[in-house]
Each structure stands twice: as C-alpha cells, then as structure tokens.
C-alpha cells in the first residue's frame, strides 16, 4: 500500500522518500528516461 502524501510529508524515514521518488520513474517512458535523468540532475 502506497504511503499517502500526508504521511510522507511528515515522514523521517529515508526509505519512504526514496520509494516515493522511485515511483516517479514508473511513469516515464523508457525512451525518455535518459532525458529525464538529465533534467533531474541539471540543478
């Protein structure tokens, strides 16, 4: 069961945050992954 955003926002569990970030990549087409990784690291 996915943690809710209300629960995540106050979570101090690193794994909660990493899993939430992982979930983003479920939405990204394989052909866009390299582009998205570039975008995520261009900060």
């Amino acid at each position: 069961m996915m943690i809710t955003i209300d629960e995540l926002w106050i979570s101090e569990n690193l794994m909660d945050w990493k899993k939430a970030l992982q979930r983003y990549w479920e939405f990204v087409k394989p052909s866009n992954i390299a582009l998205e990784h570039g975008s995520a690291s261009d900060e």
Partner: protein
C-alpha cells in the same frame, strides 16, 4: 491557491515550499541529495494512477518545472520482469549478497546469449553502474552479478546499490532496456 489556475506568485510559493522540504530532508538524513526538483517529482506522482491498468498519464501540468513523463505501455517489449534475490550469503558487514534474476522465458529482449557473460550498464536510481549479465545452460534464469562498478570504477555491491535506492529482497522489478542501458525500476503491483 487554485490548482487549475496557478499564478506566477503561486509558483514562487510552491518552489519555496519544495526548497524548504529539500533542506529539511537533507538535514534529517545528513545528505545533499534532496533537491526541490526531486520533491516536485514526488509530488507530481500523487493523484496519478500507477496500477496494472497502465493508463497513459497526462503530461505534467506543473507550472514549476516541465517534466515530460508519459506512462509506458504494458506491452512495451523493452521492459523485462525480474526479481531482486538474496543468496543467503553474507558480506563481512552482515549484508546479504543480492543478485537480480530474470527468468529465461522473459529474457528475450535482453539480447543475451545463454552461457555467456554480457557487460551491462545498469541505471539504479540516479546512478549508472557497470555490471555483468550472466547465464548458464542449466540455470532457469539469467542473473545480474552481485558486484557492480560505479562510473569512477569503484567496486560496489549490488545489494548496496539497490538498498540505497529503496529496493528490497524479493522485490519484483522491471528492467527497462533503453539505448543499451538497463534501468532497474520497481514493478507496479
């Protein structure tokens, strides 16, 4: 704040909220990895479907950043189902040796010759590793070996590379094969 009609000022406020959260997480976890962009990526996923129906997600409406993710199609032939496996063997620091196993019946898209060792580039989270995809004639599965190397050539255990990105033993994962790189992603349940 009207979510359907955000103003520039709303955007400034949202960015500040994400900046504060990123700073807070870096303080809590004693790291520098959290950025407003990553907070934005996380927030973007909430409210979007992520089940086996695999519906296309709309293009992000965020006014803060402009990600362009679209949900992959379930029949996408470049995705391969796999499992994170613990081998019951332990390193001196107590962590278990992990491999990623792929059933031979599902490995056609990996371009691997049975009985060989294929060098592969693995994307786990935001890091690229070099590893080896292996198989034998007798084993029913292919496996990504327990030892990988980061881009600086440092030897890393696969268990550390996976655990640091939230993957756990026996987790189902998808291997998205793209431009010669294998991206390790959590499997939708």
């Amino acid at each position: 704040m009207n979510e359907m009609s955000l103003t520039t000022q709303d955007g400034v406020i949202l960015i500040r909220i994400m900046q504060r959260k990123a700073i807070q997480l870096n303080q809590i976890f004693n790291s520098t990895e959290w950025t407003p962009r990553k907070i934005d990526m996380i927030l973007w996923t909430y409210g979007r479907q992520s089940d086996s129906a695999k519906v296309y997600a709309p293009v992000s409406k965020s006014t803060v950043t402009t990600p362009t993710p679209e949900k992959a199609i379930s029949s996408d032939s470049s995705r391969v189902e796999a499992k994170v496996r613990g081998l019951g063997q332990y390193y001196p620091n107590g962590t278990e040796r992990f491999e990623i196993h792929i059933a031979k019946s599902k490995a056609a898209n990996l371009g691997h010759t049975i009985g060989s060792q294929t060098p592969v580039q693995l994307q786990i989270g935001f890091t690229t590793f070099s590893g080896v995809l292996r198989s034998t004639a007798s084993n029913k599965y292919l496996w990504i070996s327990a030892k990988v190397y980061d881009q600086e050539g440092n030897r890393i255990t696969l268990v550390d590379a996976l655990s640091n990105n939230g993957f756990v033993k026996n987790q189902s994962v998808e291997l998205a094969v793209d431009s010669g790189k294998i991206h390790v992603m959590p499997m939708n349940n």
